[in-house]
Symmetry: C2
Subunit: 286 residues, 2 copies
C-alpha cells in the first residue's frame, strides 16, 4: 500500500527514513490521470531503486494561457488505486500553494536550441513551467534517479540539460513510449477524444511508423521521409498537424539527411486534444 | 590545512566523505579577494558546521556588460593563505567552464519586488547571475547551511527567496557587515580606491550612521532620514550617489515612516569603484 503525502515536509520525512535504510530513491513526476505509460515509468523505477516516489500534480505554470489547465483530467482516487499494484512507496499529491506559495517569484529556464524548436514556439512558457516545477520537486524529493517518458523527447532533453547545467545530483532515466494496440501513444489527453476522433488519431503513429519503414528501406533524405509521414496524416481530415519535424536526436538541430540518431516529432490537434508523439530513428535500425 | 578542489567531482567526493562522518556541511560562496568580512562568514560557518567549504569563483554571469569582471581582484594564493587559519576544510576554486560548460543554457531567476528595486535596475542581469551560480554551487556542495553577508541585503533576500521557492534543502545564514575602523564596509572593491578616494568613501557609512542616530533620536519620517543621509554624502565631491533608499527590511517595499524593521541601502561611485552599503534599522534600536 502506498503512502500519501500532501506536503513537502511529509515527503522529506518519508524519504529521509528510506535514506536512513540506505535505499536509493526513484522519482516519477506526473500530472496524474495515470495510464500504462506511467506504469512503465513506475516499473523501471521499481527495478532500479529501493524506494519509489510518484508525484501527482497538475502544474499550472506549464499550461500556457488558454490551454487545458482547468479541464485536464484529475482523478486522485483512481490514480492511487493504479499505483497500489505498481510498487510505489509514496504518492506526493500537493496543492498548488504547496508548490507555489504566495509571493513565489522564482523560475528556472533552459534557453537555446533545445527550447526554441518543436513545441517551444507553440507553447510559450511551457518548458519554463516544466523546469521550474521539476527543480522544486527534485529538491523536495532529492531522488537518485528521476524517470521521464520518451514520447515527449524535447521535454526529456530539456530536463537533462537542466540537470546537467544546474548540477542536480541525480540521474535522468528515459523510458520508451507505451502505445495502445493500434499504435496511438498513451496520453492522459486521449480521454478528450470522441470515438471518431480516437479512430482518426491513429494516423499519428502510422505516420511515424511509415517514416521508419522508409528509412529501413534505405531512404536517407529528410524531405522524403517527412513527405511520406505528412501524407499519412493529411489523409485524415479530423487531424490538424501543428508541426512534423525530423531533427538530430540529441541537439534537436534540423537535419537534411538521416545519418545519425534522429527524432521524428509531431504535434497535432484532434478535436479538443493537442497530441504529441515522436519516434527515435537510430542508424542501427536500418 | 585546507584542501583545494578544482572540480565539482572533487567537491562531491570530499563532502561525501564528511557526510559519511555525520558532519554537517557549511558553505560560503565568495568571489575571492578575501577580507575580514569573508573571515567572519567562515568563522560563523565553523561554529555551526562540522565541515566548511568555501568557493572562490569570479562568476562572469553576475557582472553586467561593461562592468569590472576582467579587473576584479584575483589572488588565489593569497586567498588560500587567508583561509588556512580560518578553519576552512575545503576551498573550491573552479574554472569558468567547470561551472558553465560549453552549451550551457540554464538560468535561475527571482523576479518581482525584491529584484526590481535598489541594485536591480542599475545592474541588469546581476541577480540572475547570482541566483544561477548559487543554484549550481548549492547542488555541487549540497550544504546544510550557506552563509551570506548582510552588506548586500538585497542579495541576501533574493537568495533566501530562491531557496524558499525552489525548496533547496538548506538554511541561509546571514552575518553582519564587517567594517574598517573608520566605518567603511569591507569590500574587495575597496582595493580600486586611491588614498584620496578611500578617505572620501567614509561618507557612505557616516551617512548610514547619521540616519540611525536620527531614528534613535525619535525621527520616524523616511524623507527626513533620507535627507540627512544624503546631505552627508553630498558633502563629498569625490562620491557620486547612485541610489539611497529606505525600504522595508523583508519585502523591500518603499516606506514613508519607519515603524518596523527597515533597511537603508545605497550604491555610490567612488573613483573607479561602485560601492554598496546598507544598515538595518529595527524598531528595538530606538
Amino acid at each position: 500500500m502506498s503512502d500519501l503525502a500532501k506536503t513537502a515536509r511529509d515527503v522529506r520525512r518519508a524519504v529521509g527514513a528510506a535514506h536512513a535504510e540506505r535505499k536509493s530513491i526513484g522519482f516519477v513526476p506526473t500530472l496524474g490521470a495515470l495510464h500504462d505509460g506511467h506504469l512503465a515509468l513506475f516499473e523501471r523505477a521499481r527495478q532500479q531503486c529501493g524506494y519509489v516516489v510518484v508525484s501527482i500534480f497538475v502544474n499550472p505554470t506549464q499550461f500556457p494561457p488558454g490551454t487545458d489547465f482547468e479541464s485536464y483530467p484529475r482523478d486522485l482516487d483512481g490514480d492511487v488505486k493504479k499505483v497500489e499494484g505498481a510498487g510505489v512507496d509514496l504518492v506526493f499529491s500537493p496543492s498548488v500553494v504547496e508548490i507555489y506559495p504566495p509571493g513565489d517569484h522564482t523560475s528556472v529556464e533552459v534557453t537555446g536550441p533545445l527550447a526554441e524548436c518543436l513545441c517551444g514556439p507553440h507553447r510559450p512558457g511551457h518548458f519554463r513551467g516544466v523546469t521550474t516545477v521539476c527543480a522544486r520537486l527534485f529538491n523536495i524529493v532529492q531522488p537518485d534517479r528521476a524517470y521521464f517518458g520518451e514520447k515527449d523527447h524535447q521535454q526529456l532533453l530539456i530536463i537533462k540539460q537542466m540537470v546537467r547545467d544546474l548540477r542536480f545530483p541525480l540521474e535522468i532515466v528515459s523510458v520508451p513510449t507505451v502505445r495502445e494496440p493500434d499504435g496511438l501513444a498513451m496520453s492522459s489527453r486521449n480521454a478528450y477524444l470522441s470515438s471518431e476522433e480516437r479512430r482518426a488519431a491513429v494516423v499519428l503513429p502510422r505516420a511515424l511508423f511509415a517514416a521508419r519503414d522508409l528509412l529501413n528501406a534505405g531512404e536517407r533524405s529528410a524531405a522524403a521521409v517527412l513527405a511520406t509521414a505528412r501524407e499519412v496524416i493529411d489523409s485524415e481530415s479530423l487531424v490538424s498537424l501543428q508541426y512534423l519535424e525530423l531533427r538530430d536526436a540529441e541537439t534537436l538541430r534540423e537535419i537534411h539527411a538521416v545519418e545519425q540518431a534522429a527524432v521524428l516529432a509531431l504535434a497535432a490537434h484532434v478535436g479538443p486534444a493537442r497530441l504529441i508523439d515522436s519516434i527515435l530513428l537510430t542508424p542501427t535500425d536500418y
